[in-house]
Amino acid sequence: MSGLELTIAAFILMLVAIFLRVPIAVAMGVTGFVGSWIVRGQPTAVLSQLKTLPYDTFSSYSLSIVPLFLLMGQFATKSGMSQALFRAAADWLGHRKGGVALAAVGACAGFGAVCGSSLATASTMGQVALPEMRRYGYSNALATGALAAGGTLGILIPPSIILIIYAILTEQNVIKMFAAAMIPGLLAMLGYMLVVALYARIRPDAAVTAPRVPYGERFLSLAGTWPVLAIFLVVIGGIYLGKFTPTEGAAVGAVATGLYGIWTGGLNLTTFVDCVLSAGQTTAMIFLIILGATVFNSFLGTTRTPQALADWVAGTGFAPMTILTIMLLTYLVFGCVMDSLSMILLTIPIFFPIIEVLDFGMTPEETAIWFGILALIVVEVGLITPPVGMNLFIIHSMARDVPITATYRGVAPFVASDLIRVVLLVSFPAISLALVRWLF
């Protein structure tokens, strides 16, 4: 069996196992283990590698940024920042058509600046904004849809766990990736706001306006969001200016957010334990998948499939844009049923070598950054596409009386705005790269 045939067989078996509910980390790890065994003819090498691989993977300095950012995000959920952000956004936007939903989206974007996880953003802002929207009699579809979509801003706006993993996998500069995500992230926010505004005009009964708030109060509540801005500037600015490494930046962010939480009283021993357990659970889940993916990717490396595939694709003479479109569509399709991290870890080792040999008329680094942003956005769409969209489930679990089909209906226009944005970003790489070019 050739390397390519073996890889295809391995991929099919792995996907079958995953769909039969074998945990994704196990499916990747076992397939990689057996695959390497077949290629080498004996299991000794992999078995001996397994003695040190778990420790070596978990102790990676560049990966240690992940639990630190998760802890920071958890502290942020308990510190009262979400309430302050929503208050300010509602004061400024509430009196517009669909204003409370606009405010929810804006507050999600603000929270995304201190939280690298989409689920944490959706659940935190959901707790704050969902009761408000229901109080004003917003339609269930709009309220749950806006929050599920707004949650994805948590990961589009830096810091972002998925971007960190992408940067590590493809050996890119994390802070350049963050810079590249800024404008697309803000564009996403504006797109979602546009959807809310249109929705409120087409269905005025779905979104009542809140009373107008005087400017004095508006500025006061805006000032209340200073900790979010300060922490974002210190963490991201500090990494950008080279004051500290990304991991150090995450540590600074976690400590600053924690101290602020203690100061506001939101963080005490009980909530600290909650934060730690929650961050710990997500950390373990991520690192187990990374471990499985590492074993699988070392198998891929021994088959030399990624290079062979890249050479083959380059030889076929397909237009680079065609290939890129196929890849993005693959993400969209699999995103309906798979989680974003597993998709990135599974596909980047195969897709990235192909992207590297294609000519998009940019430098290799710019191509890598641009592709990373595109991949991030299309896997994030997976979080809000039925039937399996984690953000939809999170919001659904908070509003049990709203049928999930109403949420599906409500989120559809937001998915449409995502797709339009993907087309824009594919057509105009400069949207993603402008800030990188300007800053570096």
């Binding site: 945990p23 994704i24 397994l50 998925i162 730690v276 710990g280 049923v337 489930f393």
Partner: protein, 168 residues
Amino acid sequence: MPVLDRIGRILAAVAWLLAILGGVVLTAMALLTVTSVIRRELGFGAILGDVELVELGAATAVFCFLPWCQLQRGHVTVDILVQRFPERLHLLLTSIGHLTLATVGAVITYRVWLGLGEKLRYGDQTFILGAPIWPGYVAGVVGGLLFTLIALQSALTPRQQPSPGAAE
């Protein structure tokens, strides 16, 4: 089965404690790093070997979190297909899934145990501080063992539940 129940409660309590320990290690890593950054910016120089300590701490913390994650049945699975199966088949596949986790956990724990033996025998140390690496492997063996036992327990008591979330 009261015996199983009692074992389950003990496992859960230990996993909780271990996760808290992991959280304390993680918090300590963050505090150490921040102290190091502040010292460096003020011109006192970074804490010697801070990166190594973070690495050792990260590995320890992750190993400590593994059993807790399994206790919460938090490892990512794709449930969309099996949800359409009859309930008994669904539960059977859920059990098998946990069993695969237990098997992989057992193999990895055994390999890390062997790795621990080697680290002790050759006395591997970190580069700058010369700190021993083996404590990280002890965390690996303890966390791995507990993870395996909890996965076994989950396999014996499968529940239907929507897959909890993924990361990001």
